[in-house]
Symmetry: none
Subunit: 186 residues, 4 copies
């Protein structure tokens, strides 16, 4: 039953990712459980608190960031500009905005973030830095941009507006991302 439990845990994290991305940090946990296809108590067994769940989802996001890093790193040598652009777009494609906001909401009081999360965060930022540096060297990003700024910017512009009524609000975010990347140029 170890296998089943693992499976369920993953399902819950995935469901959490989807719903948090769609509806923000204060999704009803029962909704997450239902989306995951498990009972509410199973969710609570796996994540004793709401914070635990958010952390797990964030952890997962950071791992996917690292996988993107690995995917585009080989391109850095041959075509740094292309590598940078693809990397940034892929990052934005993860739509980290909702999640980062959720995370910020949850850990309001400056409480210590779990070791694992913090370490992973450092790794993700460090890994991103090689792309940023290459982009600066290639002259497609201003020298004074920091990794933190870059990431916060990505998060900000990928934060989803909840299912919108006004149709002209739901433009593709690609437009905004490209504006953002262009704005980062020297």
């Amino acid at each position: 039953m170890r296998a089943d439990a693992r499976e369920n845990r993953s399902l819950i994290v995935a469901a959490g990712q989807r719903l948090i991305a769609a509806h923000g940090a204060d999704v009803s946990l029962s909704a997450v459980a239902e989306e995951a296809g498990v009972g509410i108590a199973t969710l609570y067994r796996n994540f004793r608190t709401r914070e635990d769940l958010i952390s797990a989802v964030l952890f997962d996001l950071q791992e996917r960031m690292l996988r993107i890093v690995d995917e585009y790193a080989p391109l850095l040598e041959s075509d740094p500009e292309e590598a940078w652009t693809n990397f940034a777009r892929a990052l934005a494609g993860l739509r980290p905005g909702a999640l980062v906001a959720a995370f910020a909401t949850t850990f309001v009081n400056g409480e210590q973030v779990s070791e694992g999360i913090a370490a992973e965060r450092v790794r993700a930022l460090a890994a991103s830095e090689q792309f940023l540096d290459a982009a600066k060297t290639a002259g497609v990003v201003r020298a004074d941009v920091t990794v933190q700024q870059f990431h916060v910017g990505i998060a900000t512009i990928t934060r989803p507006l909840p299912d919108v009524a006004a149709p002209d609000l739901t433009q593709g975010d690609e437009w905004l991302i490209d504006v953002y990347l262009r704005g980062l140029r020297p």
Copy 2:
């Protein structure tokens, strides 16, 4: 008594604006009433539904946008670039992000938006357009940018992260606004 009622209505709208801007779209209405210094029933007498309140707040925001238009319009002739930049920054200074999100959240099901709101919206967009056009003519904004895109962009980058702890997330938004404006250039 008419005067009192007017007064109360204004107080409530102002309180709503403050709280939504500060804490996001899902403020408790009792909190708004308390912030306004009136009873909850008074709030409901003035705004039968939550939607009504949000709409009123949005309407008020749009009026303030128009006032900004009026303020910087005179500069358009003499120094279009300066006019454009100041206008855009002032717009961003209204931090419309939170409110737009609240609005979007509230009118999820494609419900018809009130006539008044819609009309005001059209006026605000039209008024903005003269700045955008001037900016395009002056060569500081790409030709293919629409007013809608511009406004949605402003809203997106001024949406506040809910009560944040992580210090590196709370950088000044000015940075992002400048990146945005730069990104809009040809």
Copy 3:
């Protein structure tokens, strides 16, 4: 509407008294609300926490104790033994056991008890003392019994066993009370 609110508050306290006496400190608050004939939220409006309710119930109990004191005090002069016995039986008749236990359960961590409660408690104990002293003088209670001991004893022997199945457990408590009073004699 002030009157209605008062009324409701009383109803809730009375219901709490009955249910706590019958089922112990961990009655479901919804059950109390239902017994009182009000909605659950009304209960919460009147008593923000479970502790608040328990305190109110206890406070009420102590007031009834004081009324018993007033009732039998006149007899102290003429017939101290009779006064003492009647007083003790009346006290036991309030069945304070369940409530005292509930109170103890609730304020487990040595948390400060509300001023009002504490003061009332002191008054109730002090008022009882005149009976105890008279009884000692009349030679029907041993000299070394303290008011606290006496009250804890009363509470202990009037703690109800929850609705019992075994019929021989539900003897009248009068027997036990009389044994208790006899045991207190020199």
Copy 4:
């Protein structure tokens, strides 16, 4: 494997005894399992229902009562008063109160108690009776006291107050027991 099972069963009963005595009738069964050092499912395998467990714990208590009877019976001839007092105090020392309350709580609806329990109960009462009779003969207990009354009294005064804070409530129960025994005298 039979031995293991036996062992587990005993561990669970012992754990139940401890926890019920300490925290009252409504211990969580998982807590009992943990205290016993077994999985929750093992507890349920051994005791299909909560009632079964309570019954087993009660049965065990009754056996210990019988052992106390055996221990002090020899003294009955030589010194009946001493035998009675020691017996009664030892009985109280088992703190049957919590368990009896638990038992009463559990079998609320007049459900039939298991044969074994009932039979054991009869034996325990009968065995006690010789002490009671001797005490009556020796003139240290009133003639009209029944075994049932005596036992219920013991249970009542040994019922623990749930985790108490108020220091003046946690006096030694010895005081109350002595009062009780004195009250039983003619």
